[in-house]
Point group: C2
Chain length 696, copies 2
Amino acid sequence: MKRFTLLRSRGGPSTRAAMLFTGLALCSLPAWADEGMWTFDHAPLAAIQQRHGVSVAPEMLARLQAASVHVGASASFVSPQGLLLTNHHVVEGCVARLSSAQKDLAASGFVAQRAADELRCPGFVARVLQRTEDVSARVTAAAATGADDTARNAARKSEIARIEKGCSDEAQGLRCEVVPLYSGARYALHHYRQWDDVRLAWAPEADAGFFGGDPDNFVYPRFALDAALMRVYEKNGQPHQPAEHLRLAATMPREGELLFVSGHPGQTERLRTVAQLVSARDVGLPLDLAAARAEIAALHAFSATSPEAARQAQSTLFGTENWFKATQGEHQALQDPALLAGKRQAEQALRDAYRQRGLPGDPWADVAQANALNDKLQPQLWGLSFGYRTVYAAAIDLVALPHERGLPEGQRLAAYSDAALPQFERRLLAEAPFYPALETVRLASTLQRSLDLLGPNHPYVQLALAGRTPQQAAQALVAGTRLGERAERERLLQGGAAAVAASADPLVVLARAAWPLRRALKLQAETEVDTPIQRAAERIDQARYTLYGHSVPPDATNTLRLSFGPAQGYVSNGITHPWKTTWGGWWDRADSFDQREPFKLAARIDRARGQVDPRTPLDFVLTADIIGGNSGSPVVNARGELVGLIFDGNLESLGGNYAYQDHTARAVAVHAEAIMAALEKVYGATALAKEMRGNR
Amino acid sequence: MKRFTLLRSRGGPSTRAAMLFTGLALCSLPAWADEGMWTFDHAPLAAIQQRHGVSVAPEMLARLQAASVHVGASASFVSPQGLLLTNHHVVEGCVARLSSAQKDLAASGFVAQRAADELRCPGFVARVLQRTEDVSARVTAAAATGADDTARNAARKSEIARIEKGCSDEAQGLRCEVVPLYSGARYALHHYRQWDDVRLAWAPEADAGFFGGDPDNFVYPRFALDAALMRVYEKNGQPHQPAEHLRLAATMPREGELLFVSGHPGQTERLRTVAQLVSARDVGLPLDLAAARAEIAALHAFSATSPEAARQAQSTLFGTENWFKATQGEHQALQDPALLAGKRQAEQALRDAYRQRGLPGDPWADVAQANALNDKLQPQLWGLSFGYRTVYAAAIDLVALPHERGLPEGQRLAAYSDAALPQFERRLLAEAPFYPALETVRLASTLQRSLDLLGPNHPYVQLALAGRTPQQAAQALVAGTRLGERAERERLLQGGAAAVAASADPLVVLARAAWPLRRALKLQAETEVDTPIQRAAERIDQARYTLYGHSVPPDATNTLRLSFGPAQGYVSNGITHPWKTTWGGWWDRADSFDQREPFKLAARIDRARGQVDPRTPLDFVLTADIIGGNSGSPVVNARGELVGLIFDGNLESLGGNYAYQDHTARAVAVHAEAIMAALEKVYGATALAKEMRGNR
């Protein structure tokens, strides 16, 4: 799930979106019955009972909350001695830091046979949400004292800081945070207890935990043991004894059984209006996909010229295909007419209510207006784009950096904040191989795109091509540039505006002309598209709360939420996918690729063929509404017993950023039986397994 | 592969298309290097040597041809005693006919332990192509004697009949057929020897041969033992001893190894021009997909209302999803910019050459013109469509049949030929359950489509909706109709035009108004689109032969062809697919679905877990250019040794109808090792296995 972040950096303006979900919509849209990342204090228990005939005891939720842990991502206590279950990919960084050239734990895996063997993960902090408290009145009252927006913001900020400070107590491991919900319509004070001594108890090999590697990321059917165990320690060096922990389910789930997920989804953008979704479907994403398709085709053609060319293109090709894969997932979600119909219906209901209440203005119209401009700007912005990590992109950075740095932060483009500048510099100064033929192919594809989108008479196209074909122009530009050399990039970076202005490097010359054109467009997009949309979205979100209250869940805020949905297979792209996979399927996936990386089995997993019944479940899918940040979330049954561990969403779930649907979108989990089989039959982690089973 | 036929009934005008493949294109388009269903007498051996470094002996091809058999689909001799290898789905009809209520061979599978146990398949004819002969001069000379088109056609026909009769000899099992290639630019006389005593020797259970059922049709990764053995007998009751048979490969293939396929591809349509492909991509297929999506969404919503509703909708939903799946496969193929670029380049080359040779007119312009009209007609035709096998479609048939039958055949719409009429009647008189709620949902979806595509002011829409929503109109129409009753349909069918004109059934009343509107559109499409495109396509195809000769293969004609390509995995829709699957994966696919149909293992296959090594290959994919009719084709290595058995193409290969590409399109084959493991370790067919191994 870690690559969910990939989606954030793409697409149009970075607005947030909310699924507007009324009681009315529930009746007519049974297929989306299980939307929602709910706060625990407003879990829709009655609706669950009504829809699924499953009765959830409030005590079950209280115990689940007490056993749920935040460790950056999500986790849960699974023993009375503070044993913590999370994903292999959550502890991956820790495993790397604990490894040395002599002892590569990522390659070998790690099992602590006794507590004394457990290894502390530097920087890891675990925290448990004790309770939440509604402090909206205090925050809102404080803000009301301000005379203008700036003063109100400052008053709000300082009241929040006062509240947080008032109940935090570092020595006791108590920490408080005020979380704005519904874009600030509500403020919830979160009381946490936290620990900074978290130790690694078990991590499988990378070839087991991340089996399938990047190619299988977002992919289902999936075969990965993306699980690990840690332990939380008190300051006195004794294991923490949590008030609650999750017990293994006595009966493992069947297909169709309603399950619950408790975790920390990071951020959703479900406030996008229908106009925005339609335009993403018809304008934004098709532009992205066309760009990706053209680059992939060019890279494939280049790769076919020789094995060495294929090697050079490989990582770019993979990255582009991965981007294409994620974008296609989003695009396909938006092509579901039922999804848009549901959005439309909910939006209309909220809009009608908004008007009837006499709330000010029409934020949907504001969004639509800004969005229409965005539709016009997008092709031009794509026409004035310069490739991802190309030598031409470096030329643009060299031109842009001194220019933006020379402006006060408030006047720069958003991407060039003080905080972001070092990242640009690091990228420019990184040692990277320079393959002229590959750069030529990529530049030709970029120039072809400019020609297609801007037309032959656009000043930039005239300048860039100068009567040549994109291929010819790219050849000349790459042949003439010295920006492939790190030293030359460093010289220009250090030399600043003067050095850049003096350079006769053909790519720098072109970048000097291209950058102002792109900057003007980008500035227009920020002021006339992003800002008005952001403001309108806040008004919509706050109105939503005013009108519907807690009957609709707030957008995700990286705090504890409850999701739910049945374990269920699905049909996508014509392929029927089962609700679970097995260890036999794991071995098959490796054997089918002749155990070529990243489909090579860890030696222990390969040897386990005799020990583990091939019918043992490995991973499974459920319809619960999750997103990045849910990695490591426990999956429990209606009795609150552990049945699995979330570690990814499938490709089709990538539309979840702005809308939930459950025809094909699925959360992907490791099956609890797979974890126990691994501990008991593969890793010889008998003590840990016994601890999880409560010595049963 | 049997569902390849599904594609034929959809889409725009039924033109044929050809991939124009010049030496020039070869150099710039290495990715499509292996296009072509080649006649054996013009196999591109030099190109294979050059591209793949693999030298193919002409003797290998001669032996392969002699061992290749036509049995409706494809097959091959695999022993000196006339043993014939083909697909399970090729013998499925025979197995059904040999079964009885007491003895269900489809369920139990069938193994003949001795030749005496083999069961004759009624109606099966096997034939082997002995040689071909160029009779173009004779046919063309005969045609030239005609004064006009009609006379020329008649002269051609009778010369062909004369040639065929002159060398056929039923008593000797010799049969001759003249096959037009390149739309009649060449005529090849095919000399066959044929046998009508073909007996079943081994067929696995349907749950093994057709494992995964319809859901896994067109799907890869695939897990099916789609293989069977038959034996060819001489008239004297002795097994036929073929001149050549295929021997099992001593070394099984590795990923990347170049392999060869010998079989009988039925029909390709690779003459479509770029204009047609672009319009299929941008107009025709999106309309199809939108219609399918809307119907699928409606059926899903209906299914969600109750388990009984889900049961009623199931088969329609599945059929629609299958259609969507196939159409999506075609659409995705056309979105590959490299595919269109290649087409465009080849088309331009041929067009230039056409003009330089002073050939008459510009058939591409003719196609483009007809096609532009087609783009306008398609949305209207979809707007005036009435559902697939709905009660409304029955009403339309009842109105259309007497009208068309009353016209001379030449003046009817093409679909209503004398030969086709009984089929319409059978469909109307079939006993089929009538579910009013389901019909209402489907009719509402149809009416919504008419409203969307034709607009609220179109006379048909006005009449059909009469101020109601599509939902309300559908409800009233279905509530009022009696066409759900077979007796009422029969009464109207027997009563003909008079009975139909007198009916007050609301669906018949609506159909009486709708049919003339659709008929006029359809007639316009046939005369102004289909006919001119067909004529232009013939001219293009003949010019292609005149200019390029046999360096480009002719479109498929259901005669023996050679294809080739490496065994190779691929990445599609973000999923990385291996080049082969294993028996372990087969068991996983069954276990992952909890062995629910159609993923239930045949009992013997389930029990084989102890006997067959799970690493044993089951199925595999290769890039060879195949299409419907290739079912049962042997796959051999460069030495002509048997390594597999074609049984399907993947979803991505569905674009193969009008263009070959090898990024993701794949032929799917049973691995020869899987067949031997099945015979030796699962079915106890020791004698048959020994026979195939040559008693090794």
